[in-house]
Amino acid sequence: MRKGIWQEFDGYKEIADEIELSFEAGKERSFDRQLADQYLGRLHPKELKLRVVDVIEETPSTKTLRLAPVDALLPPFLAGQYIPLFAEIDGIRTSRPYSISSQPKQTGFYDITVRRVPDGLVSNFLMDQVKVGDLLDSAGPQGNFNFNPLYHDRHMVCFAGGSGITPFMSMIREIVECGLDREVTLIYGNRHLDDVIFHPELESIAQRFDNITFIPVIEKPAKTYSGACGFINAALIQEVLGDMQDKTFFLCGPQGMYDFCLPELESLGVAKRKIRKEMYGPPVDICDYPGWPSGINPDKNFQVTILDGKTIPVNAGTPLLVSLEKEGIVPPSICRSGECSMCRVKVLSGKVFQPAGTPVRKSDTRFGYVHSCVSYPLEDLEIML
């Protein structure tokens, strides 16, 4: 074809003039990237350095760490969101998510409230080693466990278990301190009375504010205890709420609480769309999880070979992500609950167990990708990071 036949098209002259003009008027845009990066850095920083400015003992097994920014403003967050905390402990680089328990309008610091998990790597480090003045690495707040004004009811019913109180603490503090027009019924389960985190503060808030109701539920109470006991069940929910209309339900706690409470809510006729759950880490004992193949012992050893990389020993009962981190291989991770897909790896050969319902994209499943934070080796594997 002849070059530039469009020069013969009707209207070419005008377009040519316009092009010439735009060459002269053109604007240099090379700063755009910097501007955007700066802005996004204030919203979703990839790295956020925090200094421990206070350590507050909440219960014998729980501490609040008050974290102030080192060289930047703290990014805004929605009550209910968490931050990933990075740490290097005994030579292992890893991270764990912690919900922010302070309220979002309090922009000077983030509180995180940590409960000791027996044999837990990071919780024990945070409880025992970290002191005022220490620096911690984090990243911008994340997560979708927040009140959504577009479709959530103004009456929130919150079920917390143990350290699962933290996101609700942030929400309740925001509501009372900012005078928001919302109502909360908090039903908070714990094993013993002295495990109840924020007990005095919650009681005092409930006394002072009509729109906040606080019901502690103690699984194993002392004989003299007169409050609600046992598990959070349908009868209790019914008694506290009366009817289920115009309420949105929020759950945050250990897997056992979901397994028990969700059917109870269903039996009360609460629609699925009215229930929000925070995923709170991998199942504590994967071998008890529905679908785990019988006959595979959690201690069983396998090998994982990484494409173009090394071969490492793993065992069946440990999430693949954790085994990789132990060997100095650190795939990015944020939620460590199977939700965010950051830790996605491709399994080239071999089988893993991934709990049913893990939100993996359909085509990822089809091409062998798994979320390594909730994937457990059932055979020798070959993977691609």
Partner: protein
């Protein structure tokens, strides 16, 4: 040499470039900042839903009996066996605030009949307009697709007359009814410039393509497409590194010699495919000093396109309970097709802009889990104004805009709010963050008539070994960007052989 070619960015263009090169025996490394391939062509999960990010209607695929250009491209890449395409049964519906609606079908005669029924006073004009669209498209195909060595005004009269006219002028010439003009031109929303600046050629080709080759979607969404192409690439021996961006392109004596990653290592190579913007490539990766002035001037003469504000909504019921009957719905607030429509994209707030609502479950009932459905509700917005919102007010702005969008949608589909199970919202800042493109632009440079097909600079760069792929150096959209990667790969293979 570590690799024959390094491809920067795993968007549509980067993926097809990588796959084509690897299948031709080249040693290729694909670098992607994000942890997943696709760029715009991706999805994410919330609750029980997997939300589609970008794809509303795939163009240019065609049926097996009457294949379009995209089917041939994907076929030659060997990805078709891993994909299941779903034909969308409607072209689009338009909803007006006064209750007017019309649903057009991807069939010329049915579309003309429907328009004539709704606009009996414009019967003749409708026939004439579609004649023009079709003869224009045939001229274009004859001259440019089949590369006629001797094109002339006699052979292609409508090409010569209409290729450089803007769409609004042509619509004004043909029609009187402003509503009809609005209905026929809603596809400007897929191109990002309002009809007064849009080239008629683009509007005509888009209508022609969607009607002749039918609109499609793909099972598993656009992520399935991205994953399938990546899979072909890996199977052919290609290597991909995710969570690893390119930081610099190293150049010596005007020749690419390597790429430095943001993890700090350097990869030797003599060829790079950049599936990212020329701005990012020239100013941040190569360095402006090494780029001739006229190239920079050309780049600066173009205007960055809009970004988008998108709501992803999952419902706990089937579409018919929401009264959603068609896949692709344009929700319009007025019959204004003038410049002011375009200006609205420069405001943060949402009031009366064009909105597209796609419900994938209509054509593919397996798209969302049984008993549920999802919509993707999008409007075009420039990115810059979002950078003026104080970060502390970002969430509030996001919810405020989403509320306006939902209110407008509710007027037409009153049941939607009470069935919402999941919502996520993407703002122009979300696009900046995930794509890394300046101003969160989702359509590359704006495609005004002066930037159309004929005047685009093409995929070559002044640096030896550096070639572009994707929407920044050609037309936007799935079909053009997927094909652009193949062209970039072929261009590199030619350079290697010469």
């Amino acid at each position: 040499m570590d690799y024959d070619v390094v491809v920067i960015g795993a968007g549509n263009g980067g993926l097809t470039a990588s796959a084509t090169l690897a299948r031709k025996g080249q040693k290729v490394l694909l670098l992607e900042r994000h942890n997943i391939p696709g760029g715009c062509a991706t999805s994410f999960c919330r609750g029980r839903f997997e939300f589609e990010v970008a794809l509303h209607q795939l163009s240019g695929l065609g049926t097996p009996e009457k294949p379009g250009p995209l089917r041939m491209t994907l076929g030659s890449l060997g990805v078709m066996e891993n994909l299941e395409f779903v034909e969308i049964q409607d072209l689009y519906s338009v909803y007006m605030p006064d209750g007017f609606t019309t649903c057009l079908k991807p069939d010329k005669n049915q579309t003309i009949a429907e328009l004539k029924e709704k606009f009996p006073h414009e019967k003749e004009a409708i026939d004439n307009f579609f004649d023009l669209v079709y003869t224009y498209a045939n001229d274009m195909i004859g001259a440019f697709i089949f590369r006629d060595p001797e094109p002339s005004r006699d052979k292609y009269p409508n090409l010569y007359r209409y290729a450089l006219r803007n769409a609004k002028e042509v619509l004004d010439d043909y029609f009187k009814d402003p509503l009809l003009k609005t209905v026929i031109s809603v596809y400007w929303g897929y191109l990002g410039v309002s009809t007064d600046q849009l080239s008629f050629a683009y509007l005509a080709m888009l209508l022609f393509q969607y009607i002749e080759f039918k609109p499609f979607h793909v099972k598993g969404g656009s992520q399935a497409l991205s994953n399938a192409i990546l899979n072909v690439f890996l199977t052919a021996g290609g290597r991909a590194r995710f969570n690893c961006g390119a930081k610099r392109i190293l150049v010596e004596d005007n020749q690419v010699i390597g790429v430095e990653t943001d993890q700090g290592d350097t990869i030797e190579t003599r060829y790079v495919v950049a599936n990212i913007s020329p701005m990012e490539t020239y100013t941040n990766l190569v360095g402006k000093d090494l780029i001739p002035n006229n190239t920079l001037q050309e780049m600066n003469s173009r205007i960055l396109s809009n970004s988008a504000f998108t709501m992803f909504i999952g419902f706990d019921c089937e579409p018919d309970e929401l009264n959603i009957r068609e896949s692709t719905n344009f929700l319009m607030a007025s019959t204004d097709i003038s410049r002011s429509l375009h200006d609205r994209m420069g405001r943060v707030d949402i009031q009366d802009e064009l909105m597209v609502m796609s419900c994938y479950d209509i054509s593919d009932p397996t798209f969302s889990p049984p008993g549920t459905c999802q919509i993707n509700l999008v409007t075009l917005k420039y990115g810059d104004p979002w950078l003026t919102i104080p970060p502390g007010q970002y969430h509030e702005a996001k919810f405020r805009c989403a509320e306006s969008m939902l209110k407008r949608t509710e007027k037409i589909f009153p049941n939607i709010r009470k069935h919402i199970e999941e919502i996520d919202i993407g703002t122009p800042l979300t696009h900046m963050r995930y794509l890394g493109h300046p101003a969160g632009a989702v359509y590359g440079f704006e495609s005004r008539t002066k930037d159309s097909f004929f005047f685009q600079p093409g995929n070559r760069s002044p640096v030896d070994g550096l070639t572009f792929a994707g929407g920044w150096v050609g037309d936007q959209g799935f079909e053009p960007t997927l094909r652009s990667g193949v062209s970039a790969a072929k261009s590199i293979l030619r350079q290697m052989n010469s």
